[in-house]
């Protein structure tokens, strides 16, 4: 891996990522989406984020893809706190504390 390789990656990944982010908000602008599209866009966060992390929770890379009880339990705790109490702070703190506690207890 040369310095040029690194710089090419930085510049083109940066540019590409910006264009993805800018795509709709920059180019569509003021035009209104039809109602059916709005109804779908409402679910973007819950459609993307759970799927993105599901494999990371079930098959964590840190354990070589082995399902890990400490991670499963702490994910469940974060999910319960987040959904029942609607608390972002609680989910983050509760999840991380549970993770460390479980890693300590389960070794």
């Amino acid at each position: 891996m040369s310095g040029l390789d690194i710089w090419l990656t930085i510049i083109f990944l940066g540019l590409g990522t910006f264009l993805l982010r800018y795509s709709f908000i920059g180019l569509v602008g003021e035009r209104k989406f039809p109602e059916w599209m709005m109804r779908h866009l409402r679910y973007v966060p819950v459609a993307v984020m759970p799927g993105l992390i599901a494999p990371l929770i079930v098959w964590p890379q840190a354990t070589g893809g082995e399902t890990d009880h400490a991670r499963l339990i702490s994910a469940a705790v974060a999910l319960l706190i987040g959904s029942i109490f609607k608390s972002v702070v609680g989910a983050v703190i509760g999840g991380m504390i549970t993770l460390y506690l479980m890693l300590y207890l389960l070794g």
Partner: protein, 244 residues
């Protein structure tokens, strides 16, 4: 005249308080952004990046998961264009973020839209979008202020802790389980919205499809899962609405 000035001042202080609301809403994510940024700094240096390259990547790309993916591919000796495309593929979800923010922020000024795009990360997007859905009566300038409030507390910690990681530069023991900061973040972003049936259905489909298709290359599994989950959410919403 006087009442007009009063209106402008009232408007400004309202916008300012919305900015602070956004900042407070973004603050919890410091707890997960910091270890994640630090981890990236360490990984990049270990991969052979110098400090300037590490910081340039963190500042220009500002998308942790894609940065990790590309660096890993370079380390593995993958051709550069494949490393770039892989990172871009990991970020394809940003197109959906951009589309769903458009009804809310599409009328912002051009320079604001450039900045919003640059700062469109999972946390700022997730927090702001949830707020816009909760409070549909927000004005455009309030929505913009909220978004910038949120990112203004997150971005400095992302840059700063990447720098710390790059300077420390040695492996963080796996016992610290920093890998799990990201799953916890996303759970925290999505959890509060899971109390409506359409949202819960969409999230469930997303998880099931993602796990079932995780053998697919280039993050295609995520795109398929996301599209099917969106359709699910919209259909369930329609069915519930029709029953009323």
């Amino acid at each position: 005249m006087l009442s007009r000035i009063c209106n402008i001042v009232a408007d400004m202080s309202r916008t300012r308080s919305v900015f602070w609301q956004g900042l407070r809403a973004g603050a919890p994510f410091i707890l997960v952004i910091s270890p994640f940024g630090m981890l990236f700094g360490v990984v990049a240096i270990e991969a052979g990046f110098d400090l300037i390259q590490t910081m340039a990547m963190t500042a220009l790309v500002i998308a942790g998961a894609a940065q990790f993916a590309s660096v890993q591919m370079l380390v593995d000796g993958t051709p550069v264009f494949v490393a770039i495309l892989t990172g871009v593929a990991v970020n394809l979800r940003m197109v959906m973020y951009s589309a769903s923010l458009t009804p809310h922020l599409g009328n912002a000024l051009p320079w604001q839209k450039v900045l919003i795009s640059y700062f469109m990360v999972d946390q700022s997007y997730g927090v702001a979008f949830a707020k816009y859905e909760r409070e549909p009566d927000m004005m455009l300038n309030e929505k913009i202020a909220y978004f910038f409030g949120c990112i203004s507390i997150i971005a400095p910690f992302w840059y700063g802790f990447t720098l710390v990681g790059g300077l420390v530069g040695s492996a963080i023991p796996p016992e610290y389980a920093l890998d799990f900061a990201i799953p916890i973040t996303f759970i925290a972003l999505v959890g509060p919205s899971l109390r409506s049936l359409p949202h819960l259905s969409a999230a469930s489909v997303s998880v099931i499809v993602a796990l079932a298709l995780s053998w697919m290359p280039y993050n295609l599994w995520l795109m398929v899962a996301a599209v099917l989950a969106m359709i699910t959410g919209a259909q369930v919403e329609k069915m519930l609405g029709a029953r009323k």
